[in-house]
C-alpha cells in the first residue's frame, strides 16, 4: 500500500549570501512514518528541517525559494499564518531549550496559546502529556520549580511533552539524542517508534545505527543535495548511488 | 474569541513598540531642531563667526562672544585627556596582558563605582581635595599664586571622571584581540613586551583612537563637576593655573537670569546647540572610523 504524503517539498533552494546551501530539493515525506534525513554534518540537514516550519525566518542571511506543502498550504508563502501552521509541527532540537518558567508552565504555555483556558482542563492535559513523555513520576512533586533545574535528559523529555501538548501532526526532530546519555537516547528512540502511529516524524541524524533502528524512509543528503531517497530497506539494503554506498560503508566522513 | 484576543494583544504591543521606537529614533533630530529654533533669534541677528570668535561677553549690552568659553572648554578637555589617556592605556594593557583574570574582578567593580559616582560628588571631591592641593602644593611648586579654582583643577577632576569610560572600552578592545595573534608573536621569539608594543598596540590602535574620541566627546559636555572647580571667570586663560569658564558651565550658571535680558536665553540655547553639535560630530566620526576599520580588517 502506497502511504499518503504528508509533507511535499518541491524545488527548494536555500542561499546564504552567495553560497547555495540547499540545491533543488524534491522530497515527499509519508504520513505516520519515521523519515530519517541522513548525511554528514554540514550537508544542510538541519536547514532543510528548519525550512519545514520556516524557522529560517530567524536567520537574516538565509534566502529560501521553492515550495514546502503541508496540508495543501505552502509554508514558505503563508505570511502571518505561519504562526498557526507551526502548531502542526512540534520541534525537538539538538539541545533542550526549556522555556524560562516553571515545569508546569512549560507545558501549559502552548496549551494556553491553543486556547485552553479552564484551569482544570489545563491541569489535566499537563499531567497527560507529562505522563506521555514518561516524565510525570519524576516531576509530579516539583511542578512549580523552574524547568532549568531538571537534568538534560529530563529537559529533553519535557521539550517532547511540550511539543506534543500543542497537538501537532508532525514531529520535527533535529538530532534530539546528540546531547543525551544512552538511556535517555534509547527512551527517545522507543518513544518515536510508539508515536509514529499518530504522528509523522522527521528525524535528522548522522548516526547510521539510529537511522537503521527506527527509520521507515531514508533521505540521504550530501553537500546540500538529496543523493538518494527511499525505504530503509532500499537505501540501506541496496543503495543505488556511489556516494550512498561510501557513506554507509563508512569510507568517508 | 481567544484567538482574536491574541491578535489584538499583538497589535497593542506592536503599536506600543513602534511609537516608542519612533520617539527614541527622532530624539537627536528633536533636540537639534528644538535648540536651533530657540537660538534662532541669536543666529539670525549675529554673524556666526562673530559669535564663535568674539572675546566680548556682555549680555547686558547685547554682546555675545563665545570665544572664552569655547577656549576654556577646549583647554579643560584636552588637558584632562592628556592626563587620563596614558593612564588608561597603561592600565588596560596591564590588566589584560600582565595580570590574572582574577584581577579584572577587582578592577571591574572599581571602574563601575567610578562611573557611577555622580558629577556633583566629583565636584565636591574636587573642592575638598584637588583645589587645596593645587593652591597649596602644585601652585607654589611652580611659583604661581592661585586660589586653586582653575583650568588645571577642572582638568584633573575631569580626567578621573572619564577614566572609567575610556578604560572600559580599552579593556574590551584588548580582550577582543585574538589570542592566536599573541601566540604567533610569542612563538616567533618575541618577548611579552615586544609583543605588546609591536603587535597588540598596533592591532588595537583604531580601538584606542576611538576610545579617546568617545572620551573626549564625553569630557567636552561635562557640566557640574567642572563648574564647581573651574573658577567661572570670563577671560581667556593664560596658564593652566588661571580660572576659566566652559560652555556647559555657562549654561548651568546663568539659567536664573537669562529670562530678564533680551536674547540671553537664545545665547544659552546656542551654547547648548554647540555642545550638541560637538557631541554628535565626534560620535559620528568615531563610529564611521570604527566601521571603516572593521570592514577592512574583516
Amino acid at each position: 500500500m502506497e502511504p499518503t504524503t504528508k509533507i511535499h517539498i518541491e524545488n527548494l533552494n536555500v542561499y546564504a549570501g552567495k553560497q547555495q546551501i540547499l540545491k533543488n530539493i524534491n522530497i515527499e515525506i509519508p504520513k505516520n512514518k519515521i523519515t530519517v534525513i541522513l548525511g554528514p554534518s554540514g550537508c544542510g540537514k538541519t536547514t532543510l528541517l528548519k525550512c519545514m516550519n520556516r524557522l529560517t525566518d530567524l536567520y537574516p542571511e538565509l534566502k529560501v525559494t521553492g515550495k514546502v506543502m503541508i496540508n495543501d498550504k505552502n509554508v514558505l508563502e503563508a505570511g502571518e499564518d505561519i504562526v498557526k501552521l507551526r502548531q502542526y509541527m512540534g520541534l525537538l532540537s539538538q539541545r533542550p531549550y526549556p522555556l524560562p518558567m516553571t515545569i508546569y508552565n512549560n507545558i501549559a504555555f502552548g496549551l494556553k496559546l491553543k486556547g485552553v483556558k479552564k484551569r482544570r482542563n489545563l491541569h489535566k492535559q499537563v499531567v497527560r502529556y507529562l505522563q506521555q513523555a514518561n516524565l510525570w513520576d519524576e516531576v509530579k512533586n516539583r511542578l512549580r520549580e523552574p524547568a532549568s533545574r531538571l537534568s538534560i535528559g529530563q529537559q529533553q523529555r519535557l521539550c517532547l511533552a511540550r511539543g506534543l501538548a500543542v497537538n501537532p501532526e508532525i514531529i520535527l526532530a533535529d538530532e534530539p539524542t546528540s546531547a543525551l546519555d544512552p538511556i535517555s537516547s534509547q527512551y527517545i528512540e522507543e518513544k518515536f517508534v510508539e508515536l509514529k502511529n499518530d504522528y509523522t516524524i522527521v528525524l535528522v541524524t548522522h548516526v547510521l545505527r539510529q537511522a537503521r533502528r527506527i527509520a521507515d524512509f531514508v533521505v540521504f543528503m550530501y553537500l546540500g543535495e538529496v543523493i538518494e531517497q527511499g525505504t530503509v530497506e532500499e537505501v540501506f539494503g541496496n543503495p543505488k548511488m556511489e556516494k550512498t554506498k561510501q557513506y554507509l560503508g563508512g569510507t568517508f566522513n | 474569541m481567544y484567538l482574536l484576543n491574541r491578535i489584538q494583544r499583538h497589535r497593542v504591543n506592536y503599536t506600543w513598540m513602534i511609537v516608542s521606537l519612533l520617539l527614541v529614533a527622532s530624539l537627536p533630530f528633536l533636540l537639534f531642531l528644538g535648540l536651533y529654533l530657540k537660538s534662532f533669534l541669536l543666529i539670525h541677528d549675529y554673524h556666526l563667526g562673530d559669535l564663535l570668535f568674539s572675546k566680548v561677553w556682555k549680555p547686558g549690552s547685547g554682546k555675545f562672544g563665545f570665544y572664552p568659553f569655547i577656549v576654556g572648554s577646549i583647554w579643560v578637555t584636552l588637558l584632562a585627556m592628556l592626563i587620563s589617556a596614558p593612564i588608561c592605556l597603561l592600565t588596560a594593557i596591564y590588566v589584560t596582558q600582565y595580570t590574572r583574570k582574577r584581577f579584572l574582578r577587582i578592577m571591574h567593580p572599581a571602574i563601575d563605582i567610578l562611573a557611577g559616582i555622580p558629577s556633583v560628588v566629583y565636584g565636591v571631591w574636587g573642592i575638598l581635595v584637588i583645589v587645596p592641593f593645587i593652591s597649596r602644593f602644585v601652585g607654589p611648586l611652580f611659583g604661581v599664586q592661585t586660589l586653586g579654582y582653575s583650568i588645571l583643577a577642572a582638568a584633573l577632576v575631569l580626567s578621573v571622571m572619564v577614566i572609567p569610560f575610556i578604560l572600559n572600552i580599552l579593556i574590551e578592545v584588548f580582550r577582543t584581540i585574538p589570542v592566536e595573534l599573541k601566540e604567533a608573536s610569542l612563538s616567533l621569539g618575541a618577548t611579552q613586551w615586544q609583543t605588546v608594543k609591536s603587535v597588540l598596540v598596533k592591532k588595537a590602535l583604531p580601538g584606542i583612537i576611538a576610545a579617546y574620541g568617545f572620551g573626549l566627546a564625553r569630557a567636552f559636555g561635562e557640566t557640574m563637576a567642572v563648574l564647581m572647580v573651574v573658577g567661572n571667570v570670563v577671560k581667556l586663560p593664560k596658564s593652566v593655573f588661571d580660572p576659566g569658564y566652559t560652555l556647559p558651565a555657562l549654561i548651568a550658571n546663568n539659567y536664573g537670569e537669562m529670562l530678564s535680558i533680551p536674547k540671553y536665553e537664545s545665547a544659552l540655547m546656542f551654547a547648548a546647540l554647540i555642545l550638541l553639535a560637538v557631541s554628535l560630530f565626534f560620535n559620528l566620526v568615531m563610529h564611521f572610523f570604527i566601521d571603516r576599520y572593521n570592514k577592512f580588517s574583516a
Binding site: S148 | M17, L27, G34, K38, T91
Partner: protein, 285 residues
Amino acid sequence: MKYSGKIEEKVFKILMVIATYSILAVLAIIIYSIFAKGIKALSWEILSQVPQGGYYYGKGGGILNAILGSLSLAFGATLLAFIVGLPVALYINVFLVRRKKLITLFRFILDLVWGIPSIVYGAFGFSMMILLGLQTSLLAGMLTVTLFILPIMIRSMDEILQTVPIGLSEATYSLGANKSELAFKIFTRQTVSGIITAILLSFGRAIGDAASVLFTAGYTDNLPNSLMEPVATLPLSIFFQLSSPVPAVQDRAYASALVLTLIILLVSLFSRGLGKRYHKTKINF
C-alpha cells in the same frame, strides 16, 4: 640591544603598575574624603527634616525635601524610561532579526543619543517647558531625565537581550507563539535579572544627574507633593549649600554628598548581588 629592551619593559611595567594602582587609589581617596567629611555633619535631623527658616544661614532643618524629591523624580523617570525603553529593546531583538542594517542603524542612533551631555537635555527640556507653558516642576524634571536615561536603559537591555539563544526563539515559535508573545513572555523572562540591572543602572544615573534637572525641576524647601510643583533634588541641594559662605551650611553639603553617594553605592551593590544570583538561576545552554 636585548638589554635595553629589558630595561624598557621594566620601566613600562612599573608605569603600568603605577597607573593601575593610582586609579584604585584615587577611587579610595574619593570615597574616603566624601565619607570623612560627610559623616561629621550627618545627623538624624538632616535626614528627617525639611529646611527650617534660615536654614541656608546655618539654622536648623535638613534635606528630607531633597532626598524624597530625588527619589520620586528618579523613580518616575525610571518608570517612564522603562515603559518606553523595554518595547524598543524587544523590538530590535525580536522583530528586526532579519533586518541587520536597521538594527545597526537604531543601535547607532541610540549610541549617539547616549553621548549627548545631560546639560543639553536640560536646555532642551527647558525650552520645551516654555513652549508648553509649563512651570519648573516634578513633571518637567521627570520628563527631561527620562529622555536623558532612555538610551542608557535601552542599550543595557539590548545588550542583555542579545544573549538569548536562538534555539529558545525556535522552540517558542514552534509552539505557535507570535512575535510579541516571544518578546514579552519569553525574552523578558529569560533576561529578567539583566533587565532589573538595566533599570537599576538607569535609576542611579537619574538620581545623580544635576545638569538636566537644573532648569526643569526647580527647587523648593517643601516635600514633593504634586507633579506640577517644583521639587528639590539631592545634587542641586549639594550644589546650592556648597555655594553658601556659611561653614555650617557647607558641612551639610558634604553630608548631603555622602547621602547621595550612599544611595548610588547601595543601588550598584544591589545590582551586583543580583548579577551574581542571576548567574546561578538563569537557564544555561
